[in-house]
């Protein structure tokens, strides 16, 4: 098998693998989200702390706007990694920016969870709060995974073509993270 043919195959395998991984994540998150929808639809009362007095202390809209912005930065940077599989100059730098934005997002999620817990609002308090913890926590975990992947792309010394391919994979993943986060915010606060 020639080197070019092998590279083509590796590229196709990587692309297929990434799409399958994304499909699997979508199904996982879909199970969590559909659980939330079923629980919420089946409840006559759905009292969330941010609708019953906590909103004044916790500026939800601003907080989530910031978190969405961090993810947005990550996605925008990931789009610069590679759209076509062509090697991109400065790729490690973009990867570091993504990693930073991802870290900021995860830190903010953990901070908010700690803040709620310090007021006695733990997952066991009510089903709405439990849903909040699980859905936002899951996105935070997935973002943490993407952050580690971005660091890996930045650090591992591999040929430029291979690095560009990894950049393209990273781009798809971060787009997925953005969609998941928008779905979470919309589902938890706007519906």
């Amino acid at each position: 098998m020639s080197a070019i043919a092998l590279s083509d195959r590796q590229g196709r395998a990587a692309s297929t693998g990434m799409w399958l991984f994304i499909a699997s994540i979508v199904m996982f998150y879909g199970a969590l989200f559909s659980g939330y929808v079923l629980l919420r639809a089946g409840s006559t009362v759905w009292e969330t702390p941010w609708r019953t007095g906590l909103a004044a202390e916790w500026p939800i809209a601003v907080d989530h706007w910031f978190r969405t912005m961090w993810l947005g930065i990550a996605v925008m940077q990931s789009r610069r990694l590679s759209g076509t599989g062509v090697p991109v100059a400065g790729l490690p730098r973009f990867s570091w920016v993504i990693a930073l934005a991802g870290t900021a997002f995860v830190w903010r999620c953990a901070d908010i969870a700690g803040w709620l817990a310090s007021r006695g609002l733990v997952p066991a308090t009510s089903v709405p709060l439990a849903c909040w913890y699980v859905l936002t926590g899951t996105v935070a975990l997935l973002v943490a995974g993407g952050t580690i992947a971005a660091v890996w792309v930045a650090l591992e010394p591999v040929p430029a073509v291979q690095r560009a391919r990894r950049g393209a994979m990273l781009q798809r993943y971060w787009l997925l993270m953005f969609v998941l986060w928008i779905t979470t915010v919309g589902g938890l606060y706007l519906v």
Partner: protein, 548 residues
């Protein structure tokens, strides 16, 4: 880790590990079958092995009995049959059958195996925890599962890990088929086994995450005190539970069965693939209506994801929803029938060789058929009302998985053993193994249909001693248990055959003169599989050419 990046080593590692788990699952079954045959009678040396807390005076306590039953189901499905059918056979033979030098992501495949091994060891080790292993059935229904002992938490962690393992293995397998096929090997020239493995991998990828999501919810309920599956006002032993409530136990059932019904097809599709390979090679005939079979296997996989709630027909769902799931359940039998019919018609006019592999493959057809046909009454509301939670259900799914999938796995081992070792398994011992297994397996499971029709509940620790309706069936249980023992004895013949033949069996390169690509290389295959990359110019089954 490095050795496991070779797909053949990986396949053998899966085969050995899942084989060990199969023995463990079988031994668990023998233990609880003793209790069903002779309720309350002491098992010799049981106290010495399981301790006074589980088996005082050699008598299994109900709590321990339910651990055995739950772990038998979990081990057999998640740790034995699926890893054997997908991890072992898929990893070893899919790259060979498509002319690839290996898996697309060897490290991913190896990581998947190690995750599976860790999950299996964790779940098995949970027997030593205070309160023992998981004891809420392999379905882990809440609220029972949330109130159960700590083994249930370990079970949930194990399930999460198995989901990760399945995902890694499935991604590697599908990407291999997409990107690493030999030149000329178009999709419609793929061996049917490869199609079945790809569909199985896709089912694992898309269905297992639902169970992982459910497992996260249940873990939260158990560890963090949430109430995803606990309704308000729940009381245990007249004491209200100190939880917020507001959850819904049926949510678990929906999420669980969204995986667990496709899981049945995860068990069956690779078996269909194996049987197709064996029948073509040993009947010297190309598959009848190959294209139709491919369409059927794709349809079966896709359709299996919209039938899950037939497991929940008695949960009070609306008539409309119930009707929808009854219709989809009846409809899913159409592609199954197409597959079985194609396999049977393939035999027509064939030059059949009654090798052990072929005997197991032929036995699969009626056994799987019986399992499938007996599923139809369970998919319809009125008959489900009578048969739900009875031994009929046990008989039904064991016919699909035990004489069904297991026979196909044996067919695969007898058929591909020469490819793996370069030697044939002894045919005489093989036939003893086949006949013994066939008789014993049916003697164990066939009476269960009658027991179920008579109304005997599947979950009774004492086999129904206290129920008049179960009285006539009590005498059957000892016979079923002795046949289960006999089944084990015949597997010893098989194990002896494997060990003996691996060293002293008759040398063989391609004893069946099979035409699929895995036989185009040496047996066992070298590193990289093929000395020169193969080029494919036709379909996988070229048996008509030898007749011409």
């Amino acid at each position: 880790m490095r050795a496991l990046t070779d797909h053949k080593t990986l396949g053998i590692a899966y085969a050995n590990t899942s084989g060990v788990f199969m023995v463990v699952g079988f031994l668990l079954m023998l233990l609880f079958r003793w209790q069903l045959a002779w309720p309350g009678q002491p098992i010799p040396i049981a106290t010495a092995i399981f301790g006074e807390t589980n088996a005082p005076g050699g008598i299994l306590l109900p709590e321990f009995y339910y651990q055995l039953v739950a772990m038998h189901g979990s081990v057999m499905i998640f740790l034995a049959v699926v890893p054997m059918a997908v991890g072992a056979l898929g990893s070893y033979f899919v790259p060979l059958q498509i002319g690839a030098p290996g898996l697309a992501f060897p490290r991913l495949g190896a990581a998947g195996f190690l995750t599976y091994l860790a999950a299996g060891l964790l779940m098995a080790a949970s027997f030593v925890l205070p309160g023992g292993a998981a004891n809420s059935g392999w379905t882990s229904y809440p609220p029972l599962a949330i109130l159960a002992s700590s083994g249930q938490t370990v079970w949930l962690v194990g399930i999460l890990m198995l989901g990760v393992s399945s995902m890694l293995g499935a991604i590697s397998l599908v990407a291999t088929v997409v990107a690493y096929r030999a030149p000329g090997l178009t999709l419609m020239r793929l061996p049917f086994f490869v199609w079945s493995q790809v569909m199985t991998a896709l089912l694992l990828l898309l269905a297992f995450p639902a169970l992982q999501g459910a497992a996260v919810f249940q873990l939260m309920d158990r560890v963090a005190g949430t109430s995803f599956f606990l309704p308000s006002g729940l009381a245990v032993s007249n004491t209200p539970l100190a939880v917020s409530g507001g959850g819904n136990p049926l949510l678990w059932q929906h999420l669980f069965w969204f995986l667990a019904h496709p899981e049945v097809y995860v068990l069956i599709l690779p078996a269909m693939g194996v049987v197709a390979e064996v029948i073509t090679a040993h009947a010297r005939r190309a598959l009848w209506r190959y294209g139709l079979m491919v369409g059927a296997v794709v349809a079966l996989g896709a359709w299996s994801m919209v039938v899950w709630a037939h497991h929940m027909l008695l949960t009070g769902m609306s008539t409309t929803l119930s009707s929808f799931f009854q219709i989809t359940t009846m409809a899913v039998s159409v592609p199954s029938v197409i597959l079985i019919t194609s396999l049977v018609v393939t035999l027509w006019g064939g030059a059949i060789r009654y090798t052990t592999a072929m005997c197991f493959a032929l036995a699969f057809l009626p056994m799987f058929g019986l399992g499938g046909v007996t599923g139809l009454p369970l998919g319809l509301g009125p008959s489900n009302l009578i048969l739900h939670d009875t031994y009929y259900v046990i008989g039904h799914f064991h016919y699909l998985v035990a004489p069904g999938t297991m026979f196909a796995l044996f067919a695969a081992i007898y058929h591909w053993f020469p490819k793996i070792t370069g030697r044939r398994l002894n045919e005489r011992l093989g036939l003893v193994h086949f006949i013994g297994s066939f008789v014993a397996m049916n003697a164990v499971f066939l009476p269960m249909f009658l027991m179920g029709i008579m109304g005997v509940n599947r979950r009774m620790y004492d086999a129904g001693l206290q129920y008049q309706l179960a009285e006539p069936t009590l005498a059957w249980n000892p016979h079923m248990t002795w046949n289960a023992v006999a089944l084990g004895v015949f597997q010893l013949v098989f194990l002896f055959n494997v060990v003996w033949s691996a060293k002293r069996g008759e040398p063989a390169e391609n004893p069946w003169q099979a035409t699929t690509l895995e036989w185009a290389t040496t047996s066992p295959p070298p590193a990289g599989n093929f000395a020169t990359p193969p080029v494919v110019t036709g379909g996988p089954y070229r048996y008509e050419e030898e007749r011409a």
